[in-house]
């Protein structure tokens, strides 16, 4: 152990970095291995996540009733600490954009951090361009509201109240402002799906939306909505690593208790 620590020390890798590396290094080969296995043996069954099924249903209902769908990717942005959550929101937007393109459903996406704006516009534009209708893309369907959380919440509350929204999807990084938006949607009886990772926001999420995505569930959007092979492999890799972490915790507790 001391020998390993010396080697890592000589490479300029500290204890925290070594811990992160121990999580990162096995991920990549395991991902490739599981991806190959899925390609050979077919896609594995996924445990049901009601929020993703509800999202599909809500999009269908909004299409039938001629209402719009609103997608919020949170108050985080790309290049910030909330990049992963923002990308999870973008993945859901991609699904909504393709559904909108195929069915004519009006979709409105709002962003708080300007770094998300070009990415969200690109997702919407490509959904239309992929089917050969780039002219059908409406640049105003993606709206930058404000980097200020209170102002962003106020802007979204206005959209939920006045733009004929029948389905509200809020997945990303949120603070207390989540409740302002979800309650505005709840009062208008808008069908809502929410997802966040911050433990302090999860109780607000649970009580204020119809279906909640708790913690890591938001990162599974690619596997559940898009059914992409590499996303399925990524999900399985996460499960394997989670099992390894649980085993490590149990062994650590036993070793410490018995020592």
């Amino acid at each position: 152990m001391a020998f390993l620590a010396e080697i890592l020390g000589n490479l300029g890798i500290g204890a925290q970095q070594a811990l992160a590396l121990s999580l990162l290094l096995p991920f990549f080969p395991l991902l490739l291995l599981i991806n190959r296995r899925i390609r050979e043996r077919g896609r594995p069954p996924l445990r049901p996540v009601p929020a993703y099924q509800a999202l599909r249903d809500y999009l269908g209902e909004a299409t039938e009733s001629g209402e719009a769908v609103h997608v919020s990717m949170g108050t985080g942005g790309i290049g910030t600490a909330a990049t992963a959550e923002s990308l999870a929101g973008l993945m859901v937007l991609e699904h909504v954009a393709e559904h909108s393109e195929a069915t004519g459903l009006e979709s409105i996406a709002t962003v708080s951090d300007p770094s998300l704006l070009p990415a969200a516009q690109d997702v919407m534009r490509e959904a239309y361009a992929a089917r050969g209708y780039p002219q059908a893309y409406d640049p105003a369907s993606v709206r930058f509201i404000s980097p200020d959380r209170a102002a962003y919440a106020a802007g979204v509350m206005d959209i939920l109240g006045h733009d004929g929204v029948g389905c509200n999807v809020m997945i990303g990084s949120f603070g207390d402002e989540f409740l302002l938006m979800s309650e505005a949607g709840g009062r208008k009886e808008v069908r809502q799906v929410g997802g966040a990772t911050s433990p302090s926001i999860l109780p607000l999420l649970y009580v204020s939306v119809d279906h909640a995505l708790i913690g890591e569930e938001i990162f599974a959007a690619g596997a559940y909505l898009r059914r992409r092979t590499l996303h399925l492999a990524s999900l399985a890799t996460q499960d394997w690593l989670r099992t390894a972490i649980i085993l490590a915790i149990v062994i650590g507790v036993l070793a410490r208790s018995l020592a």
Partner: protein
């Protein structure tokens, strides 16, 4: 001639941003894990460069606000007078900010308009928590029963007078917060960490692309 170059241009449209993203991501990763001055300097330079990119993104954001609200005004969509107010206020704040962020008109706007508005918006939370609790505390399923029981025990356990009723409630509250709640939060945090690593790796290998040319990614 166009036939010859089209595949190259389409390919370049997809591969160039992906190559840049992979190269930058790998470099920043090396910067995080290794203590090598050249890599650290280069990594630091690119991290600082994101501030400049973010500045340009903000300009795009302002342009987007203008497009959305000018269109709302010209088409007389619902609430168009508010769009006029928004654009007028934007111009006023822009003019007030020209001498600098420390100028008297600019700080006055922040102290007397921006902050009170922020405080007023967030003060709504008190009422919204009450209505959310009313809707959320309905017994819809076994899960919601557990939620309601936990919420009631913790709420009563927090109140000092609960100690006069019975010692069990504060003890139950402490146990709920220390054991199941902490365990749940740790589980969520570990899951989120794994999800974040997975997202990062998918981005690094070009499966997830928050930029042009994603239609073939990840299949």
């Amino acid at each position: 001639m166009r036939r010859v170059f089209l595949p190259f241009t389409v390919g370049a449209k997809r591969s160039v941003p992906m190559a840049i993203a992979i190269a930058m991501g790998s470099l920043i990763l090396l910067d995080v894990f290794f203590d090598e001055p050249h890599i650290n300097d280069l990594g630091g330079f690119f991290v600082e460069s994101t501030v400049i990119v973010a500045g340009f993104a903000l300009l795009l954001g302002i342009l987007n606000v203008l497009v959305v609200h000018v269109r709302r005004i010209t088409k007389h969509e619902a609430g168009w007078p508010y769009s006029i107010a928004l654009l007028a206020v934007a111009v006023v704040v822009l003019l007030a900010g020209i001498p600098g962020p420390e100028s008297a008109p600019f700080t006055w706007i922040f102290d007397h308009v921006q902050f009170p508005l922020q405080a007023a918006t967030f003060s709504l939370l008190a009422f919204f928590v009450a209505t959310a609790a009313y809707r959320g505390l309905r017994l819809r399923s076994l899960e919601s029963v557990a939620f309601v029981v936990t919420a009631v025990v913790v709420l009563i356990g927090q109140v000092p007078v609960s100690r006069y009723l019975t010692d069990l409630l504060p003890a139950a509250k402490d146990w709920l917060l220390d054991v199941p709640s902490t365990a749940g939060v740790r589980g969520i945090v570990i899951g989120v960490a794994l999800g974040t690593v997975a997202t990062g790796i998918r981005l690094l290998v070009g499966v997830d692309r928050p930029y042009s040319g994603r239609e073939e990614g990840g299949q």
